[in-house]
Amino acid sequence: MSNQEKPAGYDAAFTELKSILDALQQDEIGVDALAEKVKRAADLIAFCGERLRTAEGEVQKVLDELGEGD
């Protein structure tokens, strides 16, 4: 996996994030890579957050519309 690439989607991002975190928890990441990994994780979190917000917005919009249809 190319860490620097934009993730394919939330799920891919989340999976990557989880693997980063696992690696962190397993102490598999050295200090040299740490900052970079954390950065990547932060990017992924931001990406996921963004995606969540977008999805929420869309869902809310759909639900709002659906609600109006009553």
């Binding site: 939330y10 989340f14 994030l17 989880k18 980063i20 975190l21 962190l24 928890q25 102490d27 990441i29 200090v31 740490l34 954390v38 994780a41 932060a42 979190i45 996921c48 957050g49 969540l52 999805a55 929420e56 869902v59 639900l63 659906l66």
Partner: protein
């Protein structure tokens, strides 16, 4: 009487010397002869009255004797007025019935001759008893004969028409009985019409039986040509003597032999005539015969009426039943179909309502289901989002925590390493008083490596001391 007939025959005798007498001589001779031969002697004579007239109280009769329609004798008879009174007294009510044409009488008489009026019988008494006695005797004999012949009841066994409407009436036109009979029939209150053929015959006198028989035969012939219900033989009221006609054997035989019922109305009060015995039905008077006929017709019409009324009643009852059924049908047909339509409308309405209710229920269920699904989708979506957000936040926290932990751990390790390094370096040893001796910068590990005089630098904890080696001493064990 044979002597009187000899006069014309002798007078007509040819070849005799003609002596001519004046007529009076002849009558005088006849008168003398009669007087001498008969005188005032009374004779009993039987004769029939053919003519009867009264003049100045005297009765003048024409007397005849007939056998089988042939006139055998004829004489004048006179009853002088004094004797008329006597006879009238003796006969009483019968007088008028006896002294009339057609009547056979037995009488006592003088023979009388008159030069102008001629021969006559001067009647003194009329003896009915002889006639009646003879009559009774003959009647009994005839009855016996009829009985032997089986004539009695024969006609009576014939079935009389239920409506004896077509009649042949045998009687003497103009007599009271005849007229009464017809009048009675005509004036019937029911208005029945009669079909009557009349055979006019004398019903008294010597020729009466023959005439009646002949009339009956005619009736029989008529019956061959057209329907005849009955023959009615009538005789009005009259003298007992006249009844003898109706005891005539031939007449009775004829009646008995008739194929048509014979109804008789021979007026009499007590005794039956033999005609009454042999006839189908005998009534006392012609009027009674008329009543009999009318009553029979009326009974028939009554019976017809009863049948008719029974038929009408029965029919009415059956029709009324049917009328009732038709009325019920009419009521039923007025009510039932409309009730049925109303019922169907109710069913349709119920069905339609059920469709509506059921469909609404189904739709409402579906709508509720949709609502629930929408809520569930909403909840699930929200839940997913929340879970994801929470997870993300958790990850973020873990990331922060782990990164910092990592850094802290490294720092700690670094610190430890630093400590270890400090312990492992020479300084702690030097501080405890150990020192490092170097010769020309090289640490001296063995005493043997030194030579006295060597300049050595001794490193102490807090500085170096430069010295020169004075002496050497080695430890054997160290090698």
């Amino acid at each position: 009487m044979t002597s009187s007939s000899s006069i014309p025959s002798s007078a007509g005798n040819p070849g005799t010397e003609r002596k001519v007498y004046p007529l009076s001589k002849v009558t005088a001779a006849v008168s003398a002869m009669l007087k001498e031969q008969v005188g005032s002697k009374l004779f009993w004579v039987r004769a029939e009255i053919s003519q009867c007239g009264f003049k100045n109280g005297h009765a003048y009769l024409d007397l005849v004797e007939e056998q089988e329609g042939k006139r055998m004798a004829q004489l004048k008879g006179t009853i002088w007025s004094s004797q008329v009174a006597v006879i009238r007294k003796a006969l009483g009510n019968e007088f008028d019935e006896v002294l009339k044409p057609g009547r056979e009488i037995v009488f006592s008489a003088h023979m009388a001759f008159h030069a102008v009026w001629g021969f006559s019988l001067n009647i003194q008494h009329i003896d009915l008893d002889i006639l009646l006695g003879e009559m009774e005797r003959r009647r009994k004999a005839t009855l016996e004969a009829l009985s032997k012949e089986g004539a009695i009841g024969r006609n009576g066994r014939l079935e009389l028409a239920i409506v004896p409407q077509r009649l042949i009436l045998i009687g003497s036109k103009g007599t009271a009985g005849f007229t009464d009979f017809l009048a009675h029939l005509k004036s019937n209150v029911w208005g029945y019409g009669m079909d009557i053929g009349v055979v006019d015959v004398p019903v008294q006198g010597a020729q009466a039986p023959g005439a009646l028989v002949s009339a009956l035969h005619r009736a029989g012939r008529v019956a061959l040509r057209t329907a005849v219900d009955a023959v009615v033989v009538l005789r009005g009221g009259g003298a007992k003597l006249d009844l003898d006609v109706f005891n005539d054997l031939t007449l009775c035989r004829t009646i008995a032999a008739m194929d048509i019922p014979v109804l008789v109305g021979v007026g009499h009060e007590t005794d039956q005539t033999l005609v009454d015995v042999v006839a189908h039905t005998a009534c006392k008077t012609p009027t009674a015969v008329a009543d009999f006929v009318i009553e029979r017709m009326s009974e028939f019409e009554g019976a017809v009426g009863r049948e008719g009324r029974a038929i009408a009643a029965e029919a009415k009852s059956q029709l009324s039943e049917n009328r009732g059924f038709i009325a019920q049908s009419s009521t039923f047909i007025r009510e039932r179909p409309l009730a049925m339509v109303r019922g169907q409308r109710g069913l349709l309405f119920t069905g339609a309502n059920a469709v509506v209710r059921r469909t609404r229920t189904l739709l409402s269920e579906q709508q509720n289901l949709m609502g629930r699904i929408r809520t569930a989708v909403n909840a699930a979506a929200t839940g997913i989002q929340l879970t994801r957000r929470t997870a993300l936040e958790e990850l973020q926290r873990q990331l922060s925590r782990e990164a910092q932990r990592q850094l802290r751990q490294q720092e700690e390790r670094m610190g430890n390493l630093k400590g270890t390094l400090a312990l492992l370096g020479p300084e702690p040893t030097l501080k405890r008083g150990f020192s490092i001796t170097r010769k020309q910068g090289q640490a001296v590990r063995r005493a043997a490596d030194l030579r006295p005089g060597d300049v050595i630098v001794t490193q102490l904890a807090d500085g170096e001391v430069q010295s020169t080696v004075d002496a050497l001493q080695t430890n054997e064990t160290d090698t």
